[in-house]
């Protein structure tokens, strides 16, 4: 089969980008979408042209590395799947597809379809953990967790951190991502001691990074390849309200600066 691609090409964060059209003939419907891009890149290099930069790693939908918009849809048309798990049999022969990177102020474009998602790491660093030192854990079965709660925590913990929720949100909000971690830990007894602090610091960090606020549109949950439920945002909001009202410490919530987790690299 044959696919026509309009691909966003942008050499660096400082240069302007534009769409370029590529015809990709001689494809098999059993190919994955990214294998089609591999084929395109081999052909481009053979012609001496720059290959399309795109992120991918595990290619089985779990690492969260891949992702871009296909005709405006995050990870393409398939529900609950990443683009690496999407095969060409879901497209028509000769179809024209427009590929562009995640669009959000907090996700600067690095090159072509590659964006910088380190803002998501900083949200986790702001409080998305249980403070437990290596070696200080109690016997695992000393802590009983009802199965329904454990299952719900697992559903929230399934987030792969790909950023699709941000890319499709008109507000570029990271509420689904942040809510998923807050729900995962908030549903478990292990997460209780830091529950109030966590929601305040992670929320503040998300705002600091330039993500917008949630206005309950729901695009995020529809686009999520890991089927994270919109309910996680409701849980986060409830925790936030409770924490904000009952906060004992009055000192301001501190956030991490964009460069604080790594030594700054010199831009060329």
């Amino acid at each position: 089969m044959r696919i026509v691609l309009d691909v966003w090409r942008q050499r660096s964060p400082r240069e302007a980008g534009r769409f370029l059209r590529y015809e990709v003939p001689d494809l098999s419907e059993h190919m994955s979408f990214l294998e089609m891009l591999d084929v395109l890149n081999v052909r481009l290099v053979e012609r001496g042209e720059e290959p399309v930069a795109f992120d991918s790693d595990c290619r089985e939908g779990i690492c969260g590395t891949c992702g871009f918009l296909v005709n405006g849809e995050a990870h393409g048309p398939l529900m609950n799947a990443t683009i690496c798990q999407t095969h060409l049999r879901h497209f028509r022969d000769g179809e024209v597809l427009r590929l562009e990177p995640w669009r959000a102020a907090a996700f600067p474009v690095r090159r072509d379809l590659v964006v910088d998602r380190s803002a998501l790491d900083r949200i986790i660093a702001a409080g998305g953990y249980v403070s437990i030192r290596t070696g200080s854990a109690p016997e695992a079965n000393a802590l009983l967790v009802p199965k329904p709660e454990a299952d719900r925590a697992m559903e929230a913990a399934a987030c792969i951190g790909c950023g699709a929720c941000v890319a499709v949100c008109p507000n570029a909000s990271a509420a689904l991502f942040t809510g998923a971690k807050i729900s995962h830990l908030g549903l478990l007894p292990q997460g209780q001691p830091e529950r109030a602090r966590r929601v305040l610091t992670m929320g503040a960090q998300a705002a600091e990074e330039g993500f917008g606020h949630c206005t309950s549109i729901g695009e995020c949950a529809a686009a999520c390849p890991a089927s994270i439920d919109l309910e996680v945002i409701a849980r986060m909001n409830r925790d936030f309200l409770r924490a904000a009202l009952s906060r004992r410490e009055r000192e301001p919530i501190s956030t991490l600066s964009r460069s604080s987790l790594r030594e700054p690299t010199a831009e060329p």
Partner: protein, 652 residues
């Protein structure tokens, strides 16, 4: 550096540093004893030491977080855009631990025994025993972090069975155990990052190890976004960079997984142990065409309820539902009645190859066998099975377009894991002082075959519970002066790295890197894959240098080194694969026996099982680099089996 006492060994090693330094005393007390012998760093001085940890998978994230908690200054590197994406995340089935919660007779002893036997008596008893001991701490640690393991209705943790064991000792989080364990370690790492204990370097690839006065003192790395090459100095370096399965091009590894860090260390003097021990996993989705970029694993846990079969007759063209029970060969149940579908990976893979070679394989090219759930659906119902394997069924359907609820899965073996890796002593230190190696990157615990659900166990044992102690001991023994990353050996290493990149860019041939990698992978799969022979290995050893010459003559890269250039990254990795591939074939050629995943067709029993030659090969082969174009030197570390007497491995 002050030497630490170790039991005198009867043999004189042919390499001065090839001494495992196993503590004396009975197996159960060795680790306790070792920890007591360790020197401690004054807590106030810990912040004066810098430790580099390369890789952020289970071993790397756990080590970096734990070292940070202890107060060391840690520099963490990964090629991914976030530490959370390291390939441990893709592990599906579970993690073993000798908790004996199901009350079915498990113990530290039994996990130890199963692992030594599973590894076909080619691992170090003392290391494996420690691994079994630490397994229980791992479950406690991860549970406390909030890892959402599967639970029973009473609220306790749930277990399932895995290959190579008759007890249920595998803990799991749906089919996403690796993801959840890694996120636990990643979150611990990010906590240390926020506290300033760990500095993160994502999208940064280690391209050289820097050795100063015989000790590992730093690395040279390339920022993959800007192309900037920089030096980083430290008092110790820990490599947690995973295995080298991507040598074969098609494997279950992630696209970016590579061997460059361990290969650079090898070229700097670290010995490489058992490179020929590769694991071919029996249950992967068969390849569908030449364009295929990777193979997807279907968790071994599926073999708990799925039954593996092929038609009894050659060339049976009927669809699986049309083949009556009597015309099916449930070959694992037939050949290995005790373990049945839960036979270990090497054995199950070889059996699949055997029936396909007989012409009884199914699907395109006859390269597949059925994994059938119809009995289990009848016995347990769809709801129960979907709870256990739902995401795996979905994943299979997404890739193949077939629904395993209606038709049996088709599976075929694929390269999955490498038991070989850099040689390490009991402290996980390589033959270069100050260079530690943890997780899949080292060779230590799995012998010639790894049991399912043991990789996660080993990565976390190394990262949480071994490296943080042994690195501290190394630092406390002193003798480490200051090094300046802007001078001498660092500058030289930077120049070497820059020259290598320039050389790749300046080939200006005609073929993209993808084409070269695929050709090498094909060659290795055919000649050094599931079945190896003197003939095939000799042929590969002649062919690889030819492919390498072609690569250096005809590679085409577009773009520069001063920007995000993904083909340049790959080319550097593939250049190293040619050298490692040669070492792998050489090791496979010299190991004139079959053991675990290493199957030499000349060495098999009448029934086609692996035939070891304990009199000649009860040892670790540790290879030493002697320079470009020189034949590497093979050293031996003898293996002694006291607790588990050497025996022919049987799963019948």
């Amino acid at each position: 550096m002050e030497a630490r006492p170790s039991i005198p060994t009867a043999f004189a090693p042919s390499h001065p540093r090839l001494d495992a330094r196993i503590p004396s005393g009975p197996l159960p007390q060795k680790w306790e004893r070792r920890r007591f012998e360790m020197k401690l760093v004054n807590p106030a001085n810990k912040r004066k030491y810098t430790v580099i940890v390369v890789g952020t998978g289970l071993a790397g994230a756990a080590a970096a977080a734990s070292l940070g908690e202890l107060g060391y200054r840690v520099l963490s590197f990964c090629y991914q855009d976030s530490p959370r994406r390291a390939h441990s995340i893709a592990a599906q089935g579970g993690i073993n631990a000798a908790k004996n919660y199901p009350n079915d007779g498990d113990s530290v002893e039994r996990l130890f025994y199963d692992t030594v036997k599973g590894g076909d008596f080619r691992s170090r008893e003392a290391n494996v025993y420690r691994l079994a001991q630490l397994s229980v701490n791992i479950i406690d640690q991860c549970t406390a972090q909030g890892v959402p393991f599967a639970r029973e209705y009473g609220g306790t943790l749930s277990n399932r069975s895995f290959g190579g064991a008759l007890v249920s000792r595998t803990f799991y989080a749906r089919g996403q155990t690796g993801q959840q364990l890694l996120l636990g370690a990643y979150q611990a790492l990010m906590r240390q990052a926020a506290e300033g204990q760990v500095l993160l370097h994502p999208r940064t690839e280690m391209l050289e190890l820097v050795v100063v006065e015989g000790r590992a003192r730093g690395i040279v790395a390339r920022d993959l976004v800007t192309g900037t090459i920089s030096s980083h100095a430290a008092d110790a370096v820990v490599l947690c960079t995973g295995g080298y399965g991507n040598l074969f091009y098609l494997s279950t590894n992630a696209r970016g997984c590579n061997a460059t860090a361990i290969w650079r260390a090898y070229r700097q003097g670290a010995l490489f142990a058992n490179p020929c021990y590769t694991q071919i996993h029996p249950t992967c989705i068969p390849r569908s065409g030449d364009y295929q970029s990777k193979l997807t694993l279907m968790s071994e846990s599926l073999r708990n309820d799925g039954r593996v079969w092929v038609p009894k007759e050659k060339g049976d063209g009927r669809s699986p539902q049309e083949i009556p029970e009597g015309d099916r060969d449930y070959y694992l149940e037939r050949m290995y009645p005790t373990y049945g579908n839960l036979a270990p990976r090497d054995i199950a893979s070889r059996a699949a190859k055997l029936v396909c070679d007989q012409g009884r394989g199914v699907g395109p090219g006859g390269l597949g066998v059925y994994l059938d759930f119809s009995d289990a659906f009848e016995r347990l119902g769809r709801k129960v099975l979907d709870e256990r394997y739902g995401n795996l069924f979905e994943m299979y359907e997404r890739i193949t377009g077939d629904d395993p609820h209606r038709v049996p899965m088709r599976i075929y073996p694929a390269v999955h894991y490498t038991m070989g890796g850099l040689w390490v002593d009991y402290d996980l230190m390589s033959t270069i002082p100050g260079l530690f190696v943890a997780g899949e990157a080292n060779f230590s615990d799995h012998g010639a075959n790894r049991l399912g659900a043991s990789a996660l166990m080993q990565g976390l044992a190394d990262g949480y519970f071994i490296v943080p102690y042994t690195v501290g001991d190394y630092l406390a023994r002193g003798g480490l002066g200051r090094v300046d990353p802007s001078q001498g050996p660092f500058r030289d290493a930077e120049a070497v790295v820059a020259a290598r990149l320039r050389r790749l860019l300046e080939v200006r041939g005609t073929r993209p890197v993808e084409v070269f990698h695929r050709a090498l992978g094909n060659l290795l799969w055919n000649d050094c894959g599931m079945a190896r022979s003197r003939g095939s290995l000799t042929q590969a050893l002649a062919e690889i240098p030819r492919l390498r010459d072609e690569f250096w003559r005809d590679l085409r890269l577009v773009g520069t080194g001063e920007e995000l250039n993904q083909d340049l990254e790959r080319a550097g990795r593939v250049a190293d694969y040619y050298e490692l591939a040669e070492l792998m074939c050489l090791d496979a050629l010299e190991r004139e026996e079959s053991c675990g995943g290493h199957f030499r067709v000349e060495h098999q029993t009448e029934e086609g099982e692996a035939l070891r030659h304990d009199d000649r090969f009860t040892h670790v082969a540790a290879w030493e680099w002697r320079g470009p174009g020189e034949k590497p030197v093979r050293h031996e570390e003898p293996l002694v089996f006291e607790a588990v007497p050497l025996q022919a491995r049987s799963y019948k």
